[in-house]
Every structure is written in structure tokens, then in C-alpha cells.
Symmetry: C2
Subunit: 242 residues, 2 copies
DNA sequence: CGCTACGTTGACGTCCCTCAATTTCGGTGG
DNA sequence: CCACCGAAATTGAGGGACGTCAACGTAGCG
């Protein structure tokens, strides 16, 4: 079904040392945890897990990009998070025995390490710092979603899209001679699901921005040419009231 | 400035024993933690803390009701959570050294116990179960906000309002001979801020429901008369697409 | 080279926000 | 106990942002 063999690679331990979850742990301890890791490699489009699957693994992305999406009963989706290397996903499995609340799809070829909750729990008992770190990570997520919720409730589409693009550029941007390329194949539909709108609105707004010289767009591609212009759209006051 | 005297009351320890944060701890240990608690009493309208204040206390509500709201830069607000007795608030202070992301306002006379992060951290070192419990709580919050985010992005106002009312009825409802009263003074504005709409839309929808016999409304009052009708509105498929 | 998924563009409709005018309700003080 | 005041709530009219739908391009890939 999947590789369950331990994976001890320089790449993994390097990622782990830089990951907030393992911050402050003695390096040799991180090595021991790394030695207990399993690994799984996927190609573009495959899923690490689906929403509703029993949450029985905690993953750390080593290579590639992921999309975490959540679907409503009627099929409507929202793109909750884009995962980059060095980031945990499926971390809720650490705390709860329930099901994954999102689906995790590889956007390209990707490699992830994973542990079973019981395995990590053993380490948590020995190193409370691990638990504290995990709490920090979750607390960050709570805040992020509160913030996005507020923005979705109070801001209009163009501003939300500007924020999303800027966030993506900061998180996964790569400098090119044209500007900052968002290094991740995102369809208009994906951007719509990130911002709570439709692919049509995204398309219109992106093209409008392009004609203003703020961005360059292409098939599954956005390049930020003039970030300050987007910042103005994202920050300049007028919301929908006042 | 405030009472810093220890508070050891039967009411508090009872609350604590039932609180998820302390689940699974030896009762005498809970007593020790209770003995380290401070307390603060507020009257309606006062704040335990404001958004942006340094997060230096973790609170447990013992009596009364609270509203946790978050404001955007332009003053727009969202009502993130209603807190009932036995529930933690300001728990992000446990994990992070930052500022409170929300304001906590007493909806009526209320009493809360609190600890300083450092105090609780001592207990966390001794009882990793505390950390695990805290993670569970935060994980629940993450899920709840992901869910609300998805709903805000995909569902229309009437349905979101129906969900909110049902949630409130379950959380803070009190049986009367007319139906289930939401035992908390909520203005139309509050309901609007919970559901990402305007007080006008809330008013219209509530009155429409009243004329259908689903609810009875009054000044800062909602009584659910026919829950199933609301459930139908909340669950019946048609979203905005399909 | 043709299929398929992605993207664009226009027209149209509608949900719901905005704003203003009134009314109702609850509390307060005379 | 009643008059008064402010906050909450109602109601209507109007408009605009954005969703919906359909038709048509276009790029990538086998």
C-alpha cells in the first residue's frame, strides 16, 4: 500500500530542524524522531488523504507543494491552505482521534515524511516542548482563520484577491526578471476557492490588474510585477461601509 | 487594578473538573491548579481584554456570558465566539507571547478565573496531558473556523443565519413554554456580525421566519419555536450553485 | 492535431448591501 | 406612574457588486 520503511535523509533532518514543531529540541533528539519517520511520495494530482479519512498520520512536507481543500455537502469547495516544504499538515491528527477535515492533494511531485500519532505521542511525553510548539502552530492557525473569516465577511472580492496573491507571493514566490512568480500551478478556480468567489470574478480582476501593469497572468500562472499596487488595493481603507 | 487574590470556590473547581482542558487530570491536581487561580468579576458591557492587548492571562468563565469579537482596521467587526460558563477564553496566551486577537466583552454580570501563562506552564511540564488537552481545544477551534469560513464562502445569508441560531440554541438555549430561548442578549447587529451580513438582512429574515411560525423574536431576544424548520433551511441542499 | 481543461468575455439577473424614515421598546427620572 | 429619551428594530426604495450562464478562445498534451 505504501512505504513504511524508515527514512533518514539529510533533506528530512534539515527540514525538521527548521520546522517550528521541533524548534528548541536537542538536535540529537530530532535525529531520533527523524529515524522514526516513514515516507510517502506522490505524483501531481494524487492525494495524501481525503476529507473524512480517519486522521491517523501527521505529515511533514519535504518536497513539492500541496493544496488543502475542504468541501461542503453540495460539492462547493474552499482552498484552505497551500503547503510548502518544511510545513506540517494533517497535524490535527496529533490532538484528536477524528477524521481529517480537509483533503490534501499534491500539486506536483512531492515527498512527505509522516509519523503515527502514537509514535509522536511518545516523544511528546519526553519533551513537553513538542506539545508547546504544537500548540503554537495550532494557535497560529486559529488566528489565521479568524482573520480570513473576518476579511471574507467584511471585504470585497478585489481586496481579498489582492491579499491572497500577496500572501502566496510571500509564501511561495520566486524572483524572475519579470517580477515575483507564484511558483505553484493555480487555476482561476483555485484562486476563487481561496478567496470565496468565482473563477469569473478572478479572471476579470486579474486581467484588469494586468492592463494596469500590476501583474502578468498566464495559464495557471501569476507574476506579481508591481507589488505596491496590490498592497494599495489590499490596505487602502474603504471597505464596503463608511 | 484587579483582584489578584487566590480563589478557591466550589463553583470554580466544579467548572474545572468539567472543562476539557483539565480532563483526565487527577482531581487533587486540579485542586492545586484551582488554588493558583485568580479571579475577576465584571458587569455587563465591560471587557476582560481588548483586541491588541498583550495576551498575559488565560481565562476560564465561571458565570455569565461573553462575546469575543474581532475588528478590522476600518472598524467592521465579526463576532467570533460566544463564551459560556466552563469554557476557556484567551487560551491563545498559553501558546504565544503575542497579543489577544479578539476583544472579550461581558454580556452580563460575569465571573472568570484566570492564570498567568507562566503559572500554567509549570503544570504543563508536570502533566503533558494538559498540553494534549490544550491541543485538542485548539484543533477544535481550527476546524470550527474552517467550517464557518467555508459556509461564509458558499452559503447564502438565510442559511448561515439558520445555522447560527441553531448553534446558539444548542449552546446557550433555555427551554421555555414558547420554545427554546437563546439565553443571551443578542442584538440584530450581533447576529449580523456572527453571520457576515447586515442587521437589516437579519431583521428581515427573522421576521419572515416569525410569520412562518419558526421563531418568536423580540428586542435582543430570539425563541426557537420549530427547530426542524430551521434545520431544513440549514441543511436542505440547494446552495448557490447546482 | 485533435481533445480536454483552462481561460475570457459579454449579457443578465439577483441577492443583499446601503441609506433614510419611522416605530417600538426599555429604562430612567421627574 | 407617566413622560421622555436613546437604543434597537422595522420597513421601503434603490442600486451595485458579483454570481450565473452561455459562447467562444487558447494552450498544453498525448
Amino acid at each position: 500500500m505504501h512505504m513504511a520503511s524508515p527514512l533518514i535523509s539529510p533533506a528530512l533532518t534539515e527540514q525538521m530542524l527548521a520546522t517550528p514543531l521541533f524548534a528548541g529540541l536537542p538536535p540529537d533528539e530530532v535525529l531520533r524522531i527523524a529515524a522514526a519517520a516513514h515516507s510517502k511520495r506522490l505524483t501531481a494530482g494524487e492525494y495524501y488523504f481525503l476529507q473524512g479519512d480517519p486522521a491517523e498520520r501527521i505529515y511533514l512536507l519535504v518536497e513539492g507543494r500541496l493544496k488543502l481543500t475542504r468541501a461542503a455537502a453540495d460539492g462547493q469547495q474552499a482552498l484552505m491552505r497551500v503547503v510548502t516544504p518544511g510545513t506540517l499538515f494533517g497535524a490535527l491528527a496529533l490532538a484528536q482521534a477524528g477524521d481529517y477535515p480537509v483533503s490534501a492533494q499534491a500539486a506536483d511531485g512531492s515527498l512527505a515524511a509522516y509519523w503515527l500519532p502514537l509514535e509522536l505521542m511518545g516523544f511528546v511525553q519526553q519533551f513537553p516542548a513538542l506539545a508547546i510548539n504544537a500548540m503554537k502552530i495550532m494557535a497560529d492557525h486559529v488566528q489565521e482563520f479568524q482573520e480570513r473569516y473576518l476579511q471574507l465577511a467584511t471585504e470585497r472580492v478585489e481586496r481579498r484577491l489582492a491579499r491572497a496573491i500577496l500572501r502566496l507571493a510571500a509564501q511561495t514566490g520566486r524572483k524572475t526578471d519579470e517580477g515575483v512568480l507564484i511558483d505553484l500551478p493555480l487555476t482561476r478556480q483555485d484562486l476563487a476557492e481561496m478567496t470565496g468567489t468565482t473563477l469569473f470574478s478572478v479572471s476579470r480582476i486579474l486581467n484588469q490588474w494586468e492592463s494596469q501593469g500590476l501583474v502578468k497572468v498566464g495559464r495557471e500562472k501569476v507574476v506579481v510585477v508591481f507589488p505596491h499596487g496590490l498592497v494599495r488595493i489590499a490596505e487602502d481603507l474603504p471597505g464596503k461601509k463608511e
